[in-house]
Every structure is written in structure tokens, then in C-alpha cells.
């Protein structure tokens, strides 16, 4: 099963790989959610949804169902 | 007399205003009719 942002835990970082254009609001892309950009999970809301992320420098929150649509490549090296 | 005329004018204005606010169907100048325009 492919890894998506939804599978990341708090504090984990990853690189965005791809996503279905239909499933993601254009606004998200415009805020920096593009293949190749870095994403970090800053907080997870108490009930697991929404997710507070840092995508390419933009601080924003999205719902779990949207996060499930964005495939990622986990970082093997943790940056300090 | 003057007082009565003025008072009734005010009443008419109030009724006119309410009718226009609630009963007159305003033409929608833009395409968006009900709510979700599908502008996604």
C-alpha cells in the first residue's frame, strides 16, 4: 500500500511524490503542495483529523481524507 | 392634517420597503443561482 501524508506521524517529514489532480483542491497546489516539495506533520488534531502540516514553508491544516490522496516518499535521513 | 399625511407617508414607505425586501424577486445578475456554483 502506498504511503500517503495520512500515514505520517507527528514530527515526521517526507517528500511529496504525486497525487490525483481530481482529488486535491487546486488551492492546495497553489499553497505549495507540489511533487518534490517537503512536507512535515506539525500536529495531529486530538481525534486524528485534521492534520497541521508544513508544506514547502506554508503552514496549513487539511482533513485526513485529503491527506490520504497525497502520496509521499519518506525521508530516509532525518534533518536536524 | 399635515401630521396625518406625513404619518401615512412614512407608513407607506415602511410597507414599500418591507415588500421590496421580502417579496420582490431580485434578478440575479451573475450566474450563480443557488449556492454551490461548481466553481472548483
Amino acid at each position: 500500500m502506498r504511503q500517503t501524508i495520512a500515514s505520517l506521524k507527528k514530527g515526521e517529514k517526507a517528500v511529496i511524490r504525486d497525487f490525483d489532480v481530481e482529488a486535491i483542491p487546486l488551492k492546495l497546489l497553489e499553497m505549495g503542495c507540489l511533487p518534490g516539495n517537503l512536507v512535515e506533520v506539525l500536529q495531529v488534531a486530538p481525534l486524528g483529523d485534521p492534520l497541521y502540516l508544513n508544506i514547502n514553508g506554508s503552514h496549513l491544516a487539511i482533513r485526513l481524507e485529503t491527506a490520504r490522496e497525497i502520496a509521499i516518499d519518506p525521508l530516509t535521513i532525518t534533518l536536524q | 392634517m399635515v401630521q396625518e399625511i406625513l404619518a401615512y407617508i412614512i407608513l407607506a414607505a415602511a410597507i414599500f420597503f418591507l415588500v421590496r425586501k421580502f417579496l420582490w424577486k431580485k434578478k440575479n445578475e451573475k450566474n450563480c443561482g443557488e449556492g454551490d456554483c461548481g466553481c472548483h
Binding site: 489532480v21 488551492k27 492546495l28 497553489e30 507540489l34 486530538p46 497541521y52 491544516a61 | 450566474n31 466553481c39
Partner: protein, 700 residues
């Protein structure tokens, strides 16, 4: 060289860039908020004096991340920028960017540049550059982005003069685009260019991708040959976005340097506490509690002041204006009508003061984040929190605040259930009825029974809103993709200027929105209450005199008795008697019936109407009204009219009934249809009737 025409300046930018601050800095108090025709978006225009005696009209456009509209708000922005003949078409555009989020902010900038309008890049929040370790090579950026840059801090007020000078020199701004976007799909764009050689390529593209009509080119002309499927268009948009970001990254690589070593970040620490599983919610509820306490205690004094002022005004008018119908209308209809509107300003202003500060500080986004999942169970959005809280002051600004909810179904449900929250207007009604039927006792030694009842009513309000939302969510079959995205801005200290202007704006919205309707209805109701058919009305004084032949009344008592007789036989009295059979099962008599009808102007009118009905001329003295009402005996049953059962029945009726014409009006405007306010009226009134009925029958 002086110019007689005003320059049109448009302000555009991402949300949370301080664009509003810039607008406020440029225009001060010279601003007005209106509406674009047919849409619910606000149109904010201000006026600014520039150097060399040049004047400018500044248009503050809604915050947006790009020209690809995802909501009606953003659609308006594009439309105006594409139509050269629009009278607001800008001579120069100011793109406001936040120095901490330059990368993202520049996306919009590059799109605006593609429209070939003179553009100035305003980099705001310069005061934070040091703390974040950011340094900019401005000349380099100006050359690469083909623009002029003003680095300012709207918070500190620096750079504004330089910005004004740049605006004045707008004609010397370069208008070429800074990147060539058409290379993302050369074949498609070349065809487009060949067919419409006179049109700006990017403009065409925008038209195709959204539903926009502009002056020279109608969508239909292009549609047939060039529209691709939505998915294909979206793919091209995605490519466009990627291309733009590539360009921006290139430019910023050399144009911006960030020294992470010197960067400080409070955000992380604050977020940890404020979005914490336990503390996050605890803090939020504590804040809510403080807000409500403050609003109640702070508004008491101004409200009393307003109350007595208007009462005096009314008396003054009656005394000094020549006697007649008009004077009566003014003294008894218009002045109290306006007073009834003004008296709510303190509560509304204070509530929005708090909400405004919470939003300005960035905290509200965290609340939305915390509440979203819970709210969704009820068909609402995390963003519904602000409207629901605002509803405790007044539903009108609350419903307007739903505009930022992306999902139409969530927004609609929020609009429909907000009126259930206990608004300020219900309070006077609750107050007097509680005083009449709830004993002044203490429960468990500390809790005041009357206070407890009030709190209970508040909870019922919220509870019903949530339950109604849940039901609506199940019943309504509306599809809408959930495109929830909320930006989590950095924490900032709220700026006084922004907060106060915001409060002013919201208060005005209430006063004009609700005020006009309340006043109009007050006038109509006054006429209905002060005229009537037949002798019973016209010869009231003779009738009363005849009734008290054996024991003549004092002058005041006589006046009051005549007033009461007149009211009973006025049009509204007749209406009250007519509905009496329908409301009797709820425990109400025709006098309460009259008060119920009058409440449609504004719920608080209930108290004033009761005062008149119970032949008390003087409404200042609450005790007198209370005493009169307490001792009132129903002629048929021989029991007290305001007994416990009736009291509770009335309380619940007011909790659930849709009696606010102004709310119906704004619901109609925001949903663009008659269906919803009509449904609201029928369902809520029906609910109120049933609950009141059952309650009375059980308790009596």
C-alpha cells in the same frame, strides 16, 4: 502637475499578509464597505491622498491565493481584473506579500503580471525580517520580477510613504509578464493566440477556466473550440502552478537569504499548548467563558444608559412636538424602534471585539483545527465555530461570517442552525419571564436558580443548533467535495486599528442590516396598535369612563386604562384575539398573543408591548410591570396568567421560534433563494409551537 481624475488602485494578496492593515494605513477612516451586486462578497473601497495632490481610490479585494477562483469571492476578483471597462478596473495593482511566505505569495504576483497591468510588489511585515533571519536583494528581485518593490511594515507604519510615491509613479512601471506561462502547453496556446490575436493570452486562459464573462469576449465564443474537459483543464492548471513555482524558486534562490541560525519561532511552542489534546480544549472553553462573562458585565452600563436616553427622548418628543398622529408615531413608534436597535450595539460590539482579536492573533485557526472533526459529525465545519459563537450576539453578522466555509452543505447547515443560538434579543424576554415565574432561590447553596435557568436556556439553544445540524446533515442530499484547507498563520499581537475597524464594520452590518427592517416593522406595528375599527376603539375614553362610574380613576390610571382599552380593540388587538384559540393550548391569552405578534419586529419588543398591554405607561420601572403581570388573573380560568407552566412554555417558545425578520432576510441573501428562509420559518415556528404546547400541557 496635478491630476483631476482619481487613480484606481487595487489591493490584492494572500490572506494573512496584513493586506487589510495596508488598506487601513492608506485609507484611514475613509473607507466604506458595500456589496457587489448579486453576490454576497464585500466590496471595500477607500480613499487616499497621495503626494503631488494626486488622489486614489483604493479597492481592497478579498484575500486569495491565486487567480484560479475556488469560490465566489475569488471569482469577483478575476472578473474585475479582466474587464478594462469596469469602472473599478485598476490603473495599478498592489500585490501584498508576507515576507515570511514570499514563495507562496509570489504565485499570485506572477499571475497578475501576466495580465499586463502595472503592478507593485508590496512586501509586508518587514519588522519580522530580523527575527526570522530573512534578507532580500531588492534590486535583483525588481529586475527578475519586472516590477517595483516596496518593503513595508503596516504594523509599524514604515515604508508607507515610499509606497505612496511608487503608486504616484505607476505609469513608469513595466508591464511585461515576468515569465512565459504558455510554454506549459505550446500547441494549445498557439492555437488560442492565432484565433484571438487581439486578446491577452492569459486573459483567455482565465476565461476558459472559469465562468466569467468579460467585455469583449463571451465565454460561449471560446467554449466550443477550446474548452477541454474539466480534468484536462485542471491538469494544465497544475502544470501552470508548477511552472510558476519553478520560476519563483529560481528567483528567490538568489533574491532571498534565510539564516536559520538567527530565526526564532514562537509558533511551535504556542501551538503545542494551544492544540494540545486536553489543554487546547480547556483553554478554548476558558476563553469562551471569559468572553461571555465580560460581554455581560461590560454591556450592562451602556445598555442602561441607552435605555434611559431613548425613554427620555421619547418623552421629550411627545412634550415638545405639536400634538398629532405624526408626533405619536415618532414618540411611540420610531424613537423606541431605533432605541430597540441601538441598545444591542454594546453586546455586539464587545463580542466582535473579542472575535476580532482572536482572529487577528491567529488563534482562531487553531480553534478551527481543534473543532473540525467534532463539528463534522454534525454536518458542520470547524469554520462554523465563529458563526455559532457570533450568533450569541446577533445572527446577522454571524450568518455573514459563514462565507469562508468552502463546502456548500456545511455552510448551508451553519446558516440554518445559527439562529437557534441564544441571541441578545432573546435576553430581555428571558429576563422578565424568569423574574416572573422562577423563584429567587439558591440551589445547593451557591447556584442561583434564576441564573441557572438562563444558563440552561443558553445550553438549549446550542444543543438544538447541534441536533438540528445533525438532522439536516442526514436529510439534505447535497453533494459537495470537501476542500477544507485552513492556513495556520504565525501568531501576532492584534493591531488596534484593524480590530477597531473590523468591529465598526460588523456593528454597521447589524445596524443597517437588521436596523432598517426592525424600524420598518416597528412603524407598521405602531399603526396596527394605535388604530382600530369600530366604536370600541374610537370611543375608548367614553367606554372606560362609563365602566368606572362608581369609582372614578385618577388621571394617570384613567389614561392607562384608556390605552389598554384602545390596544385591546386596535387592529393588533383583534389579531391577538383571533389567534387566541390557537395559542390557548400553549397557556397564552390574547394579550400575550399581541406581544408574540409584535415580537416579529424584534424579539425584545415583547417587553415593551406587555407594558402597554398591562396598562403601565411607564416602561422604566420593571418592578411595576412585574407586579402587574404577576397579579394578572385570567378571566376564564380564574388563575394567574403568568404561572409557572405558561412561563416555561413561553421561554421555550422564544428559544425555538424564528421571529426575526432580519434573519430571514439575510438568510435569503446569503443562500440566494427563498426556499431556505421559508423552510426555516415553517420548521422553527412549528417546533416552537409543539414544544410550548407539550410543555404547557404537562406542567399545568
Amino acid at each position: 502637475m496635478t491630476s483631476t481624475k482619481n487613480i484606481n488602485v487595487a489591493l490584492i494578496g494572500n490572506p494573512n499578509t496584513g493586506k487589510t492593515s495596508v488598506f487601513n494605513q492608506l485609507t484611514g477612516l475613509n473607507q466604506q464597505v458595500g456589496n457587489y451586486p448579486g453576490i454576497t462578497v464585500e466590496k471595500k473601497i477607500g480613499f487616499c491622498k497621495l503626494p503631488y495632490n494626486i488622489k486614489a481610490n483604493i479597492l481592497d479585494l478579498p484575500g486569495t491565493y491565486s487567480l484560479n477562483a475556488s469560490s465566489i469571492d475569488e471569482n469577483v476578483v478575476i472578473e474585475m481584473l479582466l474587464n478594462k471597462n469596469d469602472k473599478l478596473y485598476p490603473d495599478v495593482v498592489l500585490v501584498v506579500a508576507d515576507v515570511e511566505n514570499l514563495k507562496r505569495n509570489l504565485l499570485l504576483f506572477t499571475q497578475i503580471k501576466d495580465l499586463e497591468i502595472p503592478t507593485i510588489l508590496v512586501i509586508n511585515m518587514a519588522d519580522r525580517m530580523g527575527a526570522k533571519g530573512i534578507s532580500l536583494d531588492v534590486p535583483y528581485l525588481e529586475a527578475q520580477l519586472k516590477t517595483k518593490i516596496a518593503v513595508i511594515s503596516s504594523r509599524k507604519g514604515t515604508g508607507i510613504d515610499e509606497l505612496k510615491k511608487l503608486i504616484v509613479a505607476y505609469q513608469s512601471l513595466p508591464t511585461e509578464p515576468c515569465l512565459n506561462a504558455s510554454i506549459i502547453d505550446p500547441e494549445y496556446f498557439n492555437r488560442l493566440r492565432k484565433t484571438f490575436p487581439n486578446q491577452l493570452l492569459y486573459k483567455l486562459w482565465l476565461v476558459i477556466t472559469q465562468d466569467v464573462n468579460f467585455a469583449q469576449l463571451d465565454r460561449n465564443e471560446i467554449r466550443n473550440s477550446y474548452t477541454r474537459s474539466q480534468i484536462e483543464l485542471k491538469k494544465i492548471q497544475q502544470k501552470e502552478t508548477i511552472k510558476r513555482y519553478q520560476f519563483i524558486n529560481e528567483v528567490l534562490k538568489d533574491g532571498q537569504k534565510i539564516n536559520l541560525a538567527t530565526a526564532k519561532d514562537f509558533r511551535i511552542q504556542l501551538d503545542r499548548i494551544l492544540t494540545h489534546k486536553v489543554w487546547g480544549y480547556a483553554i478554548f472553553f476558558a476563553i469562551l467563558f471569559v468572553i461571555f462573562q465580560s460581554i455581560f458585565s461590560w454591556s450592562a452600563v451602556p445598555m442602561d444608559f441607552i435605555d434611559s436616553t431613548f425613554a427620555s427622548l421619547s418623552t421629550l418628543a411627545a412634550q415638545h412636538l405639536p400634538a398629532g398622529v405624526l408626533t405619536d408615531l415618532i414618540a411611540q413608534g420610531i424613537i423606541p424602534g431605533i432605541g430597540g436597535i441601538v441598545i444591542f450595539i454594546p453586546q455586539i460590539a464587545f463580542l466582535f471585539l473579542f472575535i476580532s482579536m482572536l482572529e487577528e492573533s491567529g488563534y482562531m485557526s487553531r480553534v478551527v483545527f481543534l473543532m473540525d472533526k467534532i463539528m463534522r459529525r454534525f454536518g458542520l465545519s470547524g469554520k462554523s465555530v465563529v458563526p455559532l459563537i457570533s450568533g450569541t450576539a446577533c445572527a446577522i453578522p454571524a450568518i455573514m461570517a459563514t462565507r469562508n466555509i468552502e463546502n456548500w452543505k456545511e455552510r448551508l447547515i451553519t446558516i440554518l442552525v445559527t439562529p437557534f443560538t441564544t441571541c441578545s434579543a432573546r435576553l430581555p424576554v428571558y429576563a422578565i419571564i424568569i423574574a416572573l415565574v422562577i423563584p429567587e432561590k439558591r440551589v445547593l447553596g451557591i447556584l442561583n436558580l434564576q441564573g441557572l435557568t438562563l444558563m440552561l436556556l443558553y445550553l438549549i439553544g446550542f444543543g438544538t443548533a447541534i441536533v438540528a445540524a445533525y438532522l439536516l446533515n442526514k436529510i439534505l442530499k447535497i453533494n459537495g467535495k470537501t476542500y477544507f484547507v485552513v492556513e495556520m498563520p504565525g501568531y501576532k499581537l492584534p493591531m488596534f486599528k484593524n480590530v477597531s475597524l473590523n468591529v465598526l464594520e460588523k456593528t454597521k452590518a447589524f445596524v443597517w442590516g437588521a436596523g432598517k427592517i426592525i424600524l420598518a416593522i416597528s412603524i407598521v406595528l405602531w399603526f396596527l396598535a394605535s388604530s382600530g375599527p369600530g366604536n370600541a376603539f374610537h370611543h375608548a375614553d367614553q367606554i372606560v369612563a362609563a365602566q368606572h362610574l362608581s369609582e372614578p380613576l385618577s388621571a394617570t390610571d384613567f389614561e392607562n386604562a384608556v390605552a389598554s382599552q384602545k390596544l385591546e380593540n386596535s387592529y393588533i388587538g383583534i389579531m391577538g384575539k383571533a389567534i387566541e384559540p390557537a395559542i390557548a393550548p400553549l397557556g397564552y391569552d390574547w394579550k400575550i398573543g399581541i406581544a408574540l405578534i409584535s415580537s416579529f419586529a424584534a424579539r425584545e419588543v415583547f417587553v415593551g408591548t406587555l407594558a402597554t398591554i398591562y396598562s403601565v405607561g411607564d416602561t422604566d420601572n420593571e418592578n411595576t410591570i412585574k407586579n402587574k403581570m404577576q397579579t394578572e388573573i385570567h378571566p376564564d380560568t380564574g388563575q394567574k396568567v403568568f404561572n409557572f407552566a405558561t412561563g416555561i412554555s413561553l421561554l421555550l417558545f422564544y428559544a425555538f421560534a424564528m421571529q426575526c425578520a432580519s434573519t430571514l432576510a439575510i438568510t435569503k441573501k446569503e443562500t440566494n433563494s427563498w426556499k431556505w428562509p421559508a423552510t426555516q420559518l415553517v420548521l422553527m415556528s412549528g417546533l416552537a409551537y409543539l414544544v410550548a404546547l407539550v410543555t404547557y400541557q404537562i406542567l399545568k
